[in-house]
Symmetry: C2
Amino acid sequence: MSESVRDIALKARQAARKVMNLDSRAKDAALRAIAAGLRAAKAELQAENLKDLSGAKANGLSAAMIDRLTLSDKVVEGMARALEEIAELPDPVGRINGMSRRPNGLMVGRMRIPLGVVAMIYESRPNVTSDAAGLCLKSGNAVILRGGSEAFNSNIAIVKVIKRVLVEQAISEDAVCFIPVTDRAAVNELLKLEDLIDVVIPRGGEGLIRAVSENSRIPVLKHYNGICHIYVDRDADFEKAYKICLNAKVQRPGTCNAMETLLVDAAVAESFLPEMIRRFKASGVEIRGCERTRAIVPDITPATDSDWPAEFLELILAVKVVDSLEEAVDHIETYSSNHTESIITENYTRAMAFLNQVDSSSVMVNASTRLADGGEYGLGAEVGISTSKLHAYGPMGIEGLTAEKFVCFGDGQIRE
Amino acid sequence: MSESVRDIALKARQAARKVMNLDSRAKDAALRAIAAGLRAAKAELQAENLKDLSGAKANGLSAAMIDRLTLSDKVVEGMARALEEIAELPDPVGRINGMSRRPNGLMVGRMRIPLGVVAMIYESRPNVTSDAAGLCLKSGNAVILRGGSEAFNSNIAIVKVIKRVLVEQAISEDAVCFIPVTDRAAVNELLKLEDLIDVVIPRGGEGLIRAVSENSRIPVLKHYNGICHIYVDRDADFEKAYKICLNAKVQRPGTCNAMETLLVDAAVAESFLPEMIRRFKASGVEIRGCERTRAIVPDITPATDSDWPAEFLELILAVKVVDSLEEAVDHIETYSSNHTESIITENYTRAMAFLNQVDSSSVMVNASTRLADGGEYGLGAEVGISTSKLHAYGPMGIEGLTAEKFVCFGDGQIRE
């Protein structure tokens, strides 16, 4: 290896000082130029991608994995468009909040600043490479990228284009660094550099996230799985409930904000469940019901203990009848992954109780869990969805890549 | 040991669910009742404190340490007053920010919620026990306290009073838990309970904080040391500079926001330094100067390489002459602990450049670093001063013990 992981991180640290002071115009011009550069380099990117694809086929990767790895024309265009969209977002850096005058005349406020150096550790999809670089550049951070081995050649090619454009734009090419080795040891080395790196963001399967969390001395922004619940209350509007529950389960079942368990108030279970389950089945959903559900709709699979904490990510739904809002909240507290939960009700008091008592990162009334998303919430491009409460909780946009320092404008104030 | 660390944490987790839903009136009434309870139990607290004090004397602790350990009448009254002041703060929990209507009609905002279970690991001063319990209760968190062995009997006595009052107030006594063993193994066990504890806050010396950071699987809110700088620019108002620099060094030199290094613009070093150093010496400050400083004021100790990264915490000051704002910022970037830095200048452009380029948690213009404090900033009681950027940066009040979840009010919205 020509360059150590520490050497790369040192370069990123030096670049971070320059990137933090770039004005928005310079950053946005660079983002647009990178987009143009990726479009222009499409043939080059696809040639390198072919190497990864043949490797993947030789290693017997699944068709779904190979699909995610492919830099089709559409994917390259999507990468470029994503960067242009990031350029259009307002710059969070330099924004001052809550400026107020203290009794001694000192003006005190909080200014948004970049975090510094972000390490992004991710798997498969090569488009994460340009997304992460764009999000970090926009928020004034230097980034150290460490992609998966399957996309090694594609990632190198994308980073080459980005660095070329950065140099053309008179921005330090070390603002976007890449770890060009794919062994675990390099990651573990990276995770010990707490003097050089401010935050680690793992993106990928639960195994990756756990491995990073357990080995890191650097704070980790975690985005675990989504075990989302909908609770249909006795005062639910059934038409809203049918529509929302169906959407939450079938519109894109492989996503982390899809519903995995449906909880139904016993008071309406008999009137609600037969039609609801008929619609689910018509959409190809396999239902796994508790005993009380099966007493109402007999022709379904019995749910087992392993179904309640399951993230199915496919057309399977666990269904449970509960006696009260309290039992629903208890079930959620026990099995939820703190991602997103929704109550369907026309009852004001129970809507507010659910909203206040459930402490998942998104809590909804009469809306589909599929709406828990940075784009839907108006945050712009999404860095991820945090399910731990520190720093960011829920969909996280570029503001999540910044911190706030205190700024004080004085006129000679001292401590009395 | 009758109860394992895990058992205690499990109880705290269960209590957290109840405490998070207490309304402000109940929490504030409990805080005032604990204050009254501590005053009423003064004799009991002081009797237990005497055991710690005789142990401390037997172990040869310094007079300063013994002073910090003593539950004098004044200290007990201070503990009670601090709780009453916390009761008067506005409740951060339940506050909804940034509620807006999305294009599909969904109302989306962010609601402040407690973090859940906070573990506080601290040394010596027994008043931290009631402070931490009060701050966590106010912010709707359960807390697990683990104090130092020197204050063991005092801490147990304080916790006993708190639990007695909580029960009287019909609040779960497990809202405030205490680890009644003083060996390191108990702390290390605690630091592995990431399924039960949301955040760890170490308060104490650098050794404690490092040990916690290195062993914790749970996110840690760190409050390291303060190596604060003041830069006197060529356009400084000398009278302001004399007053501010003297205050920053001598008003309370043992605090983390006291100035440790003074940087002086070469353009004014000859006119500024002789009178400034005369005033420092008159206040008993030992000056350690760079070569250029000593060329102007010969009669001072030469600074060595170990003085620039030093947190003296006493009447010693390192002084360095620099050629420009850039050199000052570079020096700060190299040696600062990201706590607080201040520029003294009447020049608008350099004031703003300093404010923007220095990324310490507090950056000031024409004000004493001693003002970097939760109370001075209007945050109310201070949990600590964070010098790492994640979650909280700078003085941290009870808002730092909360997170924000997304709340969505819908009317049947689904993902299209």
